[in-house]
């Protein structure tokens, strides 16, 4: 396919993959993103080099900083994985956002029921509760698609609103509101229910390791299990699976439940690993950022982990950057978008090549 042609040169689609093209495209994307961010810092009135230095120090400067980076990355890795697994099957689950809430809420509800039970009971209940909550909420969107052919993008976006406001309702002078409290939040969870801290004097909790283990499991599931086979096949040609007798509706339901369960876990880890209470503000946005991470990670579990770590570092470093150089930490969201755009462009470009035509006449 020819895209463009002018006097003796032509841009056309590559017939194969070239790792040289990919690597050089990605490197230039990185450079472009850095340059663009530097301009942004200049516009914000800061010295770009100082800003980058502060960003780096804030995210990797000390054991504590690194631990915080990993903590920030944990929910993003999970929502990225959740989105990636659904997108792999060409199911556009935009609902990781709501499934995070559902997981956190269901886990909170289950954990409240056992109250002050010992820790060895608490953590399984929290983990299973969040998996179930997310799975059920994801399966709801899946059922709407499988049974009534409701477009999954519409269904998941709408369900996001429903669950977010449902939580608000429960927290605003509702049954879950902290007794005597003023904010939209629950009381602190009991100490036994807090996820174990892995490194002393940091906030790094068990959830990070679980997220990595989950990424490894998903990698195996996706590439070496019958279910993963069906997910990849559905993403390429669902019709061929149906001709072979695979029940498409059932597959859609399973994928949505799986995707929702993973997102739900992110919610519970935030509640029991970081905030130690359920409040709506800190859960918001995790799911949507997960979409960016899934796409940056090319829907591959391993790369999603890397993309999640990168974004965790950016988020974590932005605070120090604001303190040191006055660059508003909110700019980090613009940086996230810049990175995504540059990388998308790089992938697109690496599919093409420039070629010189010989002897046209």
């Amino acid at each position: 396919m020819t895209l463009l042609a002018w006097s003796g040169w032509r841009i056309e689609r590559r017939s194969g993959r070239s790792s040289f093209a990919l690597v050089s495209a990605l490197l230039s994307a990185g450079a472009g993103a850095v340059l663009c961010c530097a301009l942004l810092f200049l516009a914000a009135g800061a010295d770009p080099i100082a800003a980058f230095a502060a960003l780096a120090k804030g995210s990797f400067g000390s054991t504590r900083a690194i631990a915080d980076t990993l903590v920030r990355a944990t929910p993003l890795i999970l929502t990225g994985l959740a989105t990636a697994i659904a997108f792999r099957a060409r199911l556009w689950n935009i609902g990781a956002e709501g499934q995070v809430f559902a997981g956190a809420m269901f886990a909170f509800w289950c954990q409240s029921a056992i109250g002050a039970a010992p820790a060895y009971l608490q953590i399984p209940v929290i983990v299973l509760g969040s998996l179930c909550g997310g799975a059920l909420f994801g399966a709801l969107a899946g059922a709407l698609k499988a049974r009534f052919q409701v477009d999954e993008v519409i269904a998941t976006v709408m369900l996001n609103y429903i669950i977010i406001y449902a939580l608000s309702l429960l927290l605003q002078q509702g049954p879950w509101t902290e007794p005597g409290g003023f904010f939209e939040q629950t009381a602190m969870v009991p100490d036994q229910a807090k996820l174990p801290i892995l490194i002393e004097k940091t906030r790094l909790h068990l959830g990070f390791v679980l997220a990595l283990v989950l990424a490894a499991i998903l990698h195996v599931v996706l590439h070496h299990s019958p279910l993963g086979y069906e997910i990849r096949a559905a993403g390429s040609n669902l019709r061929a699976l149906q001709v072979q007798g695979v029940h498409a509706g059932r597959l859609i339901l399973v994928v949505f439940a799986l995707s929702g369960a993973i997102a739900g876990l992110a919610g519970a880890f935030e509640v029991y690993g970081v905030q130690y209470r359920l409040k709506s503000g800190t859960l918001g946005g995790l799911g949507y950022t997960g979409i960016i991470i899934a796409i940056l990670g090319q829907l591959s579990p391993r790369a999603v982990v890397i993309a999640g770590l990168l974004f965790g570092a950016l988020l974590n470093g932005s605070t120090l950057m604001q303190i040191r150089t006055g660059v508003p930490s909110a700019l980090i969201y613009a940086i996230e978008a810049i990175i995504l755009m540059f990388f998308l462009i790089a992938w697109a470009i690496s599919q093409f090549r420039l070629r010189r035509l010989r002897d046209v006449d």
């Binding site: 086979y229 069906e230 061929a240 007798g245």
Partner: protein
């Protein structure tokens, strides 16, 4: 006589693949010129270069003594080249006249009166009965093709490229098309006909044979035999496979279809009270113009589609409540008509596609995971057995040619077909050599006592391979003939809707 169109030393490459390699060719005024070649021989690339869809990397195109370069089809049309694609590009909700004049660059206003005059003049000169005010969606496929041809003429085509024009026609419609083509060439039009059907090639004035992107030769059709042409095309001699005639073997039925009816989404009957019997060790040929219910019949037997009325029995048991997977497990293999849509997963590998549908089943699983090593081994064996041209079991289907992709489906479905094999257009668009191989495989299955249903648009193939031939028209069986009493003429009549009893 000077050439109307001459191509010299034209080359076009796609990455490492050379699709056209120094092709030179001359088309004379008023000549019907055939381009013959296997898939991937470079016919389509060549015609796309002529029509401005591709730009050649090198070479010259000269029309009436003037060198031309096309950057787009618009340039080609301006240089009086017209093309009728295999898939028509018509607007069904527009009238014939509107379809012909739409996008002809007359500015914003259409001068319908002048256009109507010119179009009816064109029809008259070529003896075409076209109602200019009929909606194109109401026309038969053959008539729609005329609209495409008239449109090209209306745009001033003096060289007309036809890409496999008879693939969608009944034998009678093809006959009319050729009469029309002869009339038009007598009128001075030059026609380039792309085809792989030998009987059509033999009706042209000259043939240019392409092989692997190069011209093997251009010959006067009158001075060469079919066998010689085939040899030029594939570079070796071909042995025709013919099944021995043993109609009416009286073998037991494996699949019994009784009074099955089925309607499509628009509630139009696509299968209408249809009954058939597939017998062990017998090939039942299914003839019919595309879109008369063949696909639905195959899907109903394979369990992909539910019937509304009637019953399908496999080895005496009703399949009404069985899924496609259940039916496959009972020994039914299904080769679907549209291989890339229904039969393959393009982003998965050959090894993965060969077990498609069996991903949960015994030999391919080790514990909860897939046994990749065993799948690879199995695929390697299939690649060798079916001589699939590929780099190995790990290659993605997306990168295979149509013929090799079809072999992957055959490897999978033949292995499943221990009782019944359903083949809908198994050789469409395949190279002659591959077709020969596929036919051999089908007959081997017949030897093994498998019941076979074979639909093909190549009536000659059906008449060589089938024990009996059923003709389907609008979802009904027009009649079933033993092979020895079938003829192209008779089958053609039945395909157009005449029941066997009334057909002469």
């Amino acid at each position: 006589m000077t050439a109307r169109l001459s191509i010299s030393n034209l080359s076009k490459r796609f990455g490492p693949v050379i699709a056209n390699d120094g092709v030179s060719l001359e088309i004379r005024p008023g000549e019907l010129h055939c381009l013959l070649g296997e898939n991937g021989a470079g016919k389509s690339t060549l015609s796309s270069c002529l029509y401005g869809l591709y730009q050649p990397d090198q070479g010259r195109i000269v029309i009436d003594g003037e060198e031309r370069r096309f950057r787009s089809p618009a340039d080609a049309i301006r240089a009086s080249i017209g093309m009728v694609h295999q898939h028509f590009v018509l607007v069904p909700t527009f009238t014939v006249l509107e379809n012909i004049v739409v996008g002809t660059g007359a500015g914003w206003r259409l001068d319908t009166r002048a256009a109507r005059r010119r179009v009816s003049e064109l029809c008259q000169r070529n003896g075409l009965q076209l109602n200019l005010d009929a909606l194109v969606g109401d026309l038969s496929v053959g008539e729609q093709q005329w609209v495409e041809i008239v449109k090209a003429l209306y745009l001033g085509a003096r060289v007309l490229i036809l890409d496999e024009p008879t693939a969608v026609l009944t034998p009678q419609e093809s006959e009319r098309l050729f009469t029309l083509l002869q009339q038009m060439t007598a009128d001075g039009l030059s026609i380039i006909l792309i085809t792989h059907k030998m009987n059509e090639v033999m009706r042209s004035d000259r043939v240019t044979v392409l092989r692997r992107g190069r011209v093997v030769g251009t010959v006067e059709t009158g001075s060469i035999t079919r066998e010689e042409l085939t040899q030029m095309m594939i570079g070796r001699q071909l042995k025709q496979i013919e099944a021995e005639d043993r109609a009416g073997s009286g073998a037991p039925a494996v699949v019994t279809i009784s009074a099955v009816s089925l309607r499509d989404a628009r509630r139009v009957a696509v299968l209408d009270n249809l009954s058939l019997e597939l017998r062990a060790g017998e090939v039942l040929g299914l003839a019919g113009v595309a879109g008369n219910g063949q696909r639905e019949l195959f899907e109903a037997i394979a369990g992909v589609r539910r019937t509304e009325r009637g019953e399908i029995r496999l080895d005496g048991k009703s399949v009404a409540n069985l899924s496609a997977a259940d039916i496959a497990r009972r020994g039914v293999g299904y080769v679907p008509e549209d291989r890339f849509r229904d039969g393959l997963v393009p982003d998965l590998t050959i090894a993965e596609n060969i077990v498609l549908g069996q991903q949960w089943q015994a030999p391919w699983r080790r514990g909860v995971l897939l046994d990749a090593a065993r799948m690879r081994e199995h695929a390697a064996r299939s690649i060798a057995d079916f001589s699939i041209a590929t780099t190995g079991p790990g290659e993605r289907i997306r990168r295979l040619s149509g013929g090799n992709a079809q072999k992957v489906i055959l490897a999978r479905e033949l292995a499943k077909a221990t009782r019944c094999l359903l083949c809908n257009q198994p050789t469409r668009g395949l190279d002659v050599g591959v077709i020969e191989y596929v036919h051999g495989q089908i007959l081997r299955k017949r030897q093994d006592g498998v019941a076979i249903l074979l639909a093909s648009e190549e009536l000659e193939d059906l008449m060589r391979l089938s024990d009996r031939i059923a003709v389907i028209f609008r979802g009904r069986i027009m009649g079933i003939l033993p092979r020895h009493s079938a003829s192209i003429a008779l089958l053609g009549q039945m395909m157009a809707g005449t029941p066997l009893e009334q057909a002469a």
